[in-house]
């Protein structure tokens, strides 16, 4: 009964999920506006954005918890939501993982994971649950209750419970936010590997770019209810579409400059050569994004800079550098460059991906 979509044929463009210009609001406040996106089967994508940007609303709309004021959501080519219709959540076969795990506290781990398998016989259910728990390294916990488990274990149970129903689509809402930093890194790796090797289509929502980079092959950056850039992590970092994305993803500083010829920008640190022509006319005043990894130590003293702050990151050190010319740069150098605060060093810029935005006259 769970799979009574009118059609199970794949849509023309081959995507498992497609959102077509969906909008939704909470009372008078628009939460998402005209959002469109496509997710291919077997891909892991992420919606990344600050709180209140509407990413959770999209997830809820896909799950069927949020009414649309316009637009259409299709799963496998069949309409599941539009402004006049919603296929009930329980018939959508989407798995969902929550920030607070939302395990059923009165049930054991095995019962939690088996909760979605009501239609199977007792024995088959038990067998499937135990297989899944073993696969996720939870075999020993099947008879315990959620409160006896650590945060990471609870999270794996929540994932197992969502995957047990063999969902068409897995939705994860800030799944790692409640975990501490150390656990978070191992968990994201673990879960990423699991999703990829099992070819599970997944949409994750997060405000943490590290989580997003670890899980997703494609990321939609959200702001004020809209997706402002949909791209690979690499491109988001190196070719942000606008200033907001450039600011939100990664570190970096903006340096003033002027376009002097197609692909060449003059800055106080010298001329920067873009690998591809910029769509900015010569003479345009611009801001150029300088990432910490664009700044490298240099022995030829091309640019002199004073170390004003440093943050030790283990293998690397992030230096805040005040250049002679007055601008501040961030530099991420290998850890063996052990400069101290106040020291003056030589640096140079090695910008492989020149990112420049038109400077707003103010």
């Amino acid at each position: 009964m769970t799979n009574n979509q009118e059609s199970t044929t794949t849509s023309v463009d081959g995507s498992l999920l497609s959102l077509d210009k969906i909008s939704s609001s909470y009372g008078p406040r628009a939460a998402i506006r005209q959002v469109s996106m496509e997710v291919k089967e077997g891909s892991q994508v992420c919606l990344l954005g600050p709180s209140g940007s509407g990413k959770t609303t999209i997830l809820r709309a896909i799950a069927g918890f949020q009414r649309l004021s316009s637009g259409t959501i299709c799963i496998n080519g069949a309409i599941v939501s539009n402004p006049g219709y919603e296929l009930p959540t329980e018939q959508r076969r989407v798995g969902m993982v929550f920030q607070d795990h939302a395990l059923f506290p009165h049930l054991t781990i095995a019962e939690n994971v088996g909760a979605g398998l009501r239609k199977l016989t007792r024995n088959r259910r038990r067998k499937q649950v135990l297989e899944l728990l073993d696969q996720m390294g939870l075999g020993a916990y099947s008879e315990r209750h959620p409160h006896e488990l650590s945060g990471g274990e609870q999270q794996r149970v929540a994932l197992a419970r969502a995957l047990a129903i063999k969902p068409i689509l897995l939705l994860m809402d800030e799944p790692f936010s409640s975990l501490d930093l150390e656990l978070r890194e191992t968990m994201t790796q673990e879960i990423s590997d699991f999703l990829k090797s099992n070819n599970i289509t997944c949409i994750m929502v997060t405000h943490d770019q590290n989580d997003a980079f670890a899980i997703a092959s494609e990321i939609g950056v959200m702001r004020d209810g809209q997706i402002v850039q949909w791209d690979t992590p690499y491109n988001l970092y190196h070719q942000p579409a606008n200033r907001f994305v450039a600011d939100f993803i990664g570190n970096g500083v903006f340096v003033e400059g002027t376009v002097i010829s197609p692909g060449v920008i003059h800055t106080s640190f010298g001329e920067l050569q873009a690998s591809h022509p910029l769509e900015l006319a010569s003479g345009t005043a611009v801001e150029v994004l300088i990432r910490p990894d664009d700044v490298v130590p240099s022995s030829d003293q091309q640019i002199l800079a004073k170390v004003v702050r440093l943050a030790f990151k283990g293998a690397e050190i992030l230096y805040t550098l005040e250049t002679e010319l007055g601008g501040v740069l961030l530099g991420l150098f290998p850890s063996h460059t052990n400069y101290s605060v106040g020291q003056t060093i030589g640096i140079q810029l090695e910008v492989d991906h020149v990112v420049a935005f038109r400077r707003l006259s103010d």
């Binding site: 769970t2 909470y26 939460a31 709180s51 209140g52 959770t56 609303t57 809820r60 799950a63 069927g64 918890f65 949020q66 009414r67 919603e86 009930p88 959540t89 329980e90 018939q91 959508r92 076969r93 989407v94 798995g95 969902m96 929550f98 920030q99 607070d100 939302a102 395990l103 059923f104 506290p105 009165h106 909760a115 979605g116 009501r118 929540a158 419970r161 969502a162 129903i165 969902p167 939705l171 809402d173 800030e174 936010s177 405000h207």
Partner: protein
Amino acid sequence: MVAVALMLKPNLWRWNWWTLGAVFLAAIVSLPIIAVFGFAAQPAPDIWMHLLTTSFPFYLRNTFVLLIGVACLVALIGVSTAWLVSMCNFPGRQIFEWLLLLPLAFPAYVIAYAYTDLLEYAGPVQSLLRLHFEWSSPAEYWFPNLRSIGGAIILMAFVLYPYVYLLARSAFLTQSVSTLEISRALGRTSWQTFFLVSLPNARPAIVVGIALASMETLNDYGTVDFFSVPTLTAGIIDVWLGMGSLAAGAQIATMLVFFVVLLILFEKASRRNRRYYQQSSSRYKPLPTYSLNKWRGALAIVICGVPVVCGFLLPVLVLTRLSIIYFSESWTPHFQKLAANSLTVSGMAALLTVALALFISYSRRLQDGKIIQISTTFATLGYAIPGAVLAVGILTPLGFIDNAVDAFLQKHFNLSSGLLFSGTVAAVVFAYIVRFLTIAVGQIESSLGGVALTVDMAARTLGYSARSTMVRFHVPLISGGLFTALMIVFVDCMKELPATLILRPFGFETLATHVFYFASDEMLGQSALGSLTIVLVGVIPVVLLCHLVVRSRDKSPTRLR
């Protein structure tokens, strides 16, 4: 980001059978409340003229005096005891914290019977006095007449003060420590701090407590009837049972509703102010308490001890003594039958009320549209409506339905259905549901509030419908809250007197009506076993409440010095 995620309430269901069902049930429950006003619009001039010139002024005066008297006295007892147990340190404080709740188990009419037995001319107190002073007739000495409006005020205050105590206590416990400290640092004495800082801060909570106690006062019939100080409630019942006029009863009922509306407005107004008074910061800092010296400690024990002794221990002793003396006369098959009646009617009403409350609360959780919120809010007004008014409001539509069904059957099938609802147990159960739905909804909504919405969402993605999510997950998760609601409603139904008196089928008796009729016939001894049973059953939800109070003590004062 967490806060935002919680604010955004997802839509778990749209306009559907849940919503329709909840709105429909809410409408049915609201029917009696609407009917009272409708009926009052119909004229009954003859009876009015008679009433106006005879008893009506007394009803009005008594109601007014009783309300004011009880309000002042419950405020005095409730606030002083709450202040002592939450802000001062004296021997026995922790025991008094929950002992002070016990009088809640007494319906006012039962404590009235107990004290009448204790203090009447032939009772043990006056007999002892006469023996000791060798008086032989009532002319030789003065003894206060308990069966007066003063007596009614004092006795009602002794069983109703816990409403003020409970709310004032929690207000004192959550007050801002820094404000207190600043006040003390500025050189105010502890008395000045109390009157200038703590009392204004707790005022909204105290007003709510007084409003609740006042509603109970308006609802009372047993006491005022027994003490012959007829109020508006007594007026409704006298007019209905004595003169058989529903219209006049309904008109007195609307007068009474006017008092209730005033109380509700009063209460709402102070709740609105509450926001400005309470600061959430530093809420969890322990309160500094005053250590009382020997004499003051003894005084505190007396102040807290008197309400407990007078409101619970002494009347229980009196009733126990009487029950033992009259046991063979009281413990009859008839008594067992009416105890069983009480049990079944109250049990049935409690189960239905809790089921309905669960349905309404869960529908409100699924959908926060305006229509469902307004209609269900209206349906939970029943608690404010005195039982006698409610009974009048129920008789009217039920009589109408009965007549309509009967007429229909007569016309088409030549059959007579007679009275289907009015004058049946169904009417009594319905009255209990309307009156006590508020309590059940409040309890269940706060329990449901403790279950994260993500649990609902998780269950729905796992293939459970809205209904099976409730049955499989919410019901087990809030079973404690459901049980508490069931117990509180059950006991309130058992104690309920005025609506039961008006609506019960001929010859059908419950413990409450039995006790009432025996007492009216001055057979207090024979009624004692019934009274004691009501009180002992009434202790159950009070114990549940005590449990909550004791648990909340984590936040209660710890000594700083």
